[in-house]
Symmetry: C2
Amino acid sequence: MLLAKSGDPRARERWALPWDATRGEEALADAALRIARGVLGTAPAALEQIAAFGDSRRHPGDAELSVGYVGLVPQDGQLRGTQDVAWFPLAELPAVQPRHREIIEAAFEAVRLRVDQSPLAFRLLPPTFTLSELQQVYELLLGRRLHKASFRRALQAAFLVEPTDEWRSEGRGRPAQLFRYAPRKRRDARRGVRFDLLGG
Amino acid sequence: MLLAKSGDPRARERWALPWDATRGEEALADAALRIARGVLGTAPAALEQIAAFGDSRRHPGDAELSVGYVGLVPQDGQLRGTQDVAWFPLAELPAVQPRHREIIEAAFEAVRLRVDQSPLAFRLLPPTFTLSELQQVYELLLGRRLHKASFRRALQAAFLVEPTDEWRSEGRGRPAQLFRYAPRKRRDARRGVRFDLLGG
DNA sequence: TGACTTTAGTGCCGATTTGCTACTAATTCG
DNA sequence: CGAATTAGTAGCAAATCGGCACTAAAGTCA
């Protein structure tokens, strides 16, 4: 999780989500991209809206209404040195404003929900990748382990990737074939109802 | 879909989504509930945020930023006669502002996505209901037919409803047993990855 | 009254999907 | 060379799914 030093020196919490107001007629997505570029130095691999947060009981910073966006980047690469921003492991998140805490939690929930609606995982990978890398990204985004054989079977049935004729040898072990994201068909995908993930 | 006569007489589109600005420190959800109550005369059975819409290329009415909410009500009952609001069948929606059109489309998508994350369907039913009624609500919200036996099997496996000892005779045909929403366990629910509904 | 219709609910079967173990394949390390 | 390591697959048992067909209980109508 990328956080920035809070701009307001009176704030008790030193760290906060990077944020800014929209400028003029700027669209929300454009503002989110501008803010992300400002802290990353480059555009994120994915950028999606989470929701609007406007509960006045929580400290809104300066804003009455906040619209949260999640960005994803492949790794914690170099940041703009000029800014006071830093990556934090999930287990060591510092205290942030209540509203920012709420946005962060909603962000992780949104990612887990959208992983299989939108090709988030593929945007985090280079144009060609091994199936093990793809599976690792899915496991990271979903927060749980997946079974190798089932993962590959489902992937093959969905016609999402196609093999290249290149192989990559990553240190020890058998070299892995490189694949590329090339969605072909569109399976029907309409199954019955999933009562089992009904929560809240 | 419930629409209201556009407040702005200069607008080309006569109909629009019911809307209002937030008042003072009012939370977004409270404002949505207030607006819904205003047009319905009563609170909707469900009310969930869709997203924030702030693309300046679309005509925003008066607002720079709109936060959309979907409300669901069991049937198109009586409305407040004092307001210029009316129900429209989906196939006969009149022209609305571009942003409102976008919100409407996102609303249906959001409902379809959240039907099996949140007990939307049960909120649309009275405390006791037949399984056929429940299935009809699901079919309405999902926009597709479901298989009776599979529906009931999945429902039973999820421990979501419990039978009452009452039966209802609805005109002709065998009387149906009444059930009540009483979620018991929480199944693991962690399946593999669903590549097949990856779109966009 | 008794056949027919209508709706509710269940049994069962074949096809598919899933989770899992165990295997084979290809490479590096020592 | 053999052990270790990673990639990829075969195959199996259990669960799930969609569909058909059946039974059950009511009303309808001659």
